[in-house]
């Protein structure tokens, strides 16, 4: 029983990590007023870059760094189109998904002789037990024998909270997402804040992708991300655009997945088809939203292009 609980927790944490990272990325972008449908693409680019870097340098940490940089780089087109050129943010985000997946798979095929996937990474990030804590019963083995990316994700949630709600930068970022004209009249550079928000989202989503490809997994192919970016987007909305809300939402989702998997392992499949069990996380999410989460209030200026002095 206790073991099962530990197991469920461990799976929860495993599943939560990439979602949490990407959704935190989305948080920064959307809090600044720029919708980011492109999380899927940014995760893809991060996953790809991390694998290639690690294959070349045998240093997965470097992989994380380049994944963040690549995520940032690929968020630039989205930023330029939707902030400078005032393109519709949804349009631009969709284009970003096309671009990222296209470029990543194109490069894989070009680099690895037409193969649709990279070779296997040997030097993946290993789980990192935290001495002492890992021995706490039940939660220790689940939470404190996790991947470095998991710890990173949790730290980012807390840093994200502090940055957004305690620092001038965060306050300005949120102001820009709520009422850019107001921020502008207070001397805040709306464009710069939005660019920063989008770039941070690229970095974090890239990191999220990397956590899938070189920590949990060990290679990259077209299906490495397979919809996780969209679930991260859902997590962001579910978490009401708040760092702790996002933490809660991604934990909820991870937990639902863990329950579904556990259901199979304890033999529920004799009674319920495994397809039905696998639907569970998605059904639970809808129920949770319909039942008690309900209306989420987006940043007021989200999705709206901004023009200096415009109204």
């Amino acid at each position: 029983m206790i073991e099962s609980l530990t197991d469920i927790l461990a799976t929860t944490v495993l599943y939560m990590t990439p979602l949490l990272l990407a959704a935190m990325g989305g948080l920064f972008s959307e809090r600044s007023g720029v919708v980011n449908i492109g999380l899927e693409g940014l995760m893809t680019i991060g996953a790809f870059t991390a694998v290639v870097t690690t294959l070349e340098t045998h240093n997965p940490w470097l992989g994380l760094v380049t994944a963040m940089l690549a995520g940032m780089l690929f968020s630039i087109p989205h930023a330029i189109a939707s902030i400078t050129f005032k393109a519709d943010q949804v349009v631009s985000g969709v284009a970003l998904n096309f671009l990222a997946l296209g470029v990543a798979v194109y490069l894989v095929k070009s680099l690895y002789k037409g193969s649709g996937q990279t070779p296997d990474v040997q030097d993946v990030l290993q789980a990192m037990p935290i001495p002492g804590l890992e021995n706490i019963p039940v939660i220790g083995p689940a939470l404190f024998r996790a991947f470095p990316t998991t710890y990173l994700a949790l730290i980012i949630v807390f840093i994200g909270y502090v940055v957004l709600y305690r620092t001038p930068f965060g306050m300005r970022l949120r102001a820009v997402g709520e009422h850019p004209q107001a921020a502008e009249t207070m001397g805040v550079n709306v464009y710069r804040m939005r660019y920063t928000g989008v770039l941070i989202s690229g970095a974090l989503a890239g990191l999220g992708g990397a956590s899938l490809s070189i920590a949990i997994g060990s290679q990259f192919s077209e299906s490495t991300i397979a919809g996780q970016g969209f679930i991260a987007l859902a997590t962001l909305i579910f978490g009401k655009w708040h760092p702790f809300g996002v933490l809660g939402a991604s934990t909820f989702f991870g937990f639902a997945v863990a329950l579904a998997l556990k259901g199979q392992l304890i033999g529920l499949t004799t009674y319920v088809p495994s397809e039905a069990l696998n639907m569970l996380p998605y059904i639970l999410t809808i129920l949770a939203l319909a039942g008690f989460v309900g209306r989420a209030e987006a940043p007021a200026a989200i999705g709206k292009t901004y023009e200096t002095g415009g109204r």
């Binding site: 949120r174 102001a175 001397g187």
Partner: protein, 507 residues
């Protein structure tokens, strides 16, 4: 010395010259009015002074020194602060957060909230601007929001303050408070540029007026040397009459009666608490009151947009309580809504499409499932001509019309449906005197045609001029009925503030 001098400012927008060689000279320590019709270019000129726009031509001198104001930050450094026509406040933020945004006091890189709150408190005490530093903007009154706007400029040490139509959104008491504040500010040595459409206010507190019309500089006059009529004709370019011509009302049958209704606001708190009211054909009932005393909820309840918790609304002898908005509309209610952008128009529809917002599915605008555009267009054309809505054509999006013309469009739509009962909520908010004149005439015309009209306005003067009876609303109840002919402004003011004055109270 001149605090501000703007010389030959020209600003072009695609297709329009918003400012065309405008001059503005403001002396240190004066209250300088900027007067002009809707769209005359006042806000544009001030946005240039505040650095939000760059002029295409012209020079700006601040305290005698030529400067280039490239952004709000530069303006701030020059001691210029602006209270914008449309509030620039971040709703979910607190008062303090809004004030410190952009120049936050920090310790170790973190915002020092406590210090900020103290500073805000100190400044608000000094100038007599009562605010709660910790309240969220979305929870405070419009008046307090405006004080926050003023505090924002003072917090940055502004010496020259621009007030762009600050009184348009305020109740009479709040206007009085604001005027006191402005006087305090001038006493402290600040300079104020004040935009308003209300000539009374100019006469009351300003020293000098600059008038612009259609982007052009018309003139600069000392308030002491002029009067309201002369200002109005300079501004509009023709004579304007301020007195509303109206014959005595000839009230007939009872059209609307409201019995003991209760309505909740959006937070679920009772906003209307057992209110009674009757309106007869051929009369205008004015609903006076300080903003937030249940006026909006009352109107939304009558029109079916909000649920009536108890009590009933009867129109022409039939109960319309809690019917669907559509049914209520079709049973003879017209509604000029308080917020024309939120409720009154679909801004992305053409002005023509907006003309049939309630009737699009009726003959002759629709045959069965299919819309009849020829009928819709000819109808819209007729209304636009009849009500003098200035628009290039009926296909222009409503968004591109000026506020006054948008409002005329709404009035055209509501009046032309020929309802027995017409609700006019703040029908002239933010409009210039020319536009106001026309709208007032329309309302009187409707009354004389035998319609029952409920006029809600925060502007006492408007209510005064138009109403045959005035109902003063206070905390969700009618505090008293007064006859405009035999009551003084003080008496109404007292009722609005919650003091019951014995004799006039009839219901």
């Amino acid at each position: 010395m001149d605090a501000v001098e703007m010389k030959g400012i020209t600003k072009r927008f695609p297709g329009i010259v918003a400012n065309d060689g405008v001059n503005l000279k403001v002396k240190q320590g004066e209250i300088h009015a900027l007067l002009g019709e809707n769209g005359a270019g006042k806000s544009t000129l001030m946005n240039i002074l505040f650095g939000l726009y760059q002029p295409d031509e012209g020079k700006i001198l601040i305290k005698g020194k030529e400067t280039e104001i490239t952004g709000p930050t530069v303006a701030g450094e020059l001691g210029i602060g602006m209270v914008h026509q449309h509030f620039m406040l971040v709703d979910p933020f607190t008062v303090t957060e809004n004030i410190i945004l952009g120049s936050e006091p920090t310790t170790n890189g973190m915002i020092n909230k406590r210090r900020a709150e103290k500073e805000v408190q100190a400044i608000s005490d000094r100038y007599g601007l009562k605010v709660d530093p910790r309240a969220k903007i979305r929870d405070i009154s419009v008046g307090m929001q405006q004080r926050v706007e003023i505090l924002k400029t003072l917090y940055r040490g502004a010496e020259i303050l621009i007030f762009d139509e600050p009184t348009a959104v305020l109740a009479p008491q709040e206007i009085d408070e604001l005027i006191v504040i402005m006087e305090n500010l001038v006493k402290e040595g600040k300079t104020i540029i004040f935009i308003t459409h209300k000539l009374k206010e100019i006469m009351r507190i300003c020293d000098v007026v600059t008038i612009i019309r259609q982007g052009k500089f018309i003139g600069r006059v000392e308030v002491a040397d002029t009067d309201e009529n002369r200002l109005a004709s300079m501004m509009v370019g023709r004579d304007v009459s301020f007195t509303v011509d109206k014959k005595p009302a000839k009230p007939k049958d009872k059209i609307l009666s409201i019995r003991d209704i209760r309505v909740q606001d959006s937070r679920g708190v009772d906003a209307v608490r057992g209110l009674n009211m009757e309106i007869k054909a051929g009369e205008i009932v004015g609903l006076a009151g300080v903003d937030g005393n249940g006026q909006s909820e009352l109107i939304e309840a009558i029109t079916g947009l909000k649920k009536v918790q108890s009590g009933e609304v009867i129109l022409n002898g039939k109960k319309i309580t809690n019917l669907k908005p559509k049914t209520i509309t079709h049973s003879g209610v017209g509604h000029i809504p308080e917020d024309r952008h939120r409720r009154g128009l679909v801004l992305d529809f053409s002005i023509g499409e907006n003309m049939v917002l309630q009737t699009f599915d009726q003959k002759p605008f629709a045959k069965g499932w299919s819309l009849q555009y020829p009928a819709i267009h000819s109808y819209a054309k007729r209304l636009i001509e009849e009500f003098d809505v200035r628009t290039p054509d009926i296909h222009t999006p409503a968004r591109a019309l000026s506020g006054g013309n948008q409002q005329k469009g709404i009035i055209a739509r509501e009046v032309d449906r020929d309802p027995d009962f017409l609700i006019a909520a703040q029908p002239t908010r933010g409009l210039d005197v020319g536009a106001i004149e026309g709208i007032h005439r329309r309302l009187i015309e409707q009354r004389d045609k035998g319609k029952a009209i409920l006029l809600m306005s925060l502007e006492l003067e408007e209510i005064w001029q138009l109403s045959d009876h005035i109902a003063v609303i206070y905390e969700g109840k009618i505090a008293g009925w007064v006859d405009p002919a035999s009551t003084t402004e003080e008496e109404i003011g007292l009722l609005m503030a919650g003091y019951r004055a014995g004799t006039e109270v009839t219901s």
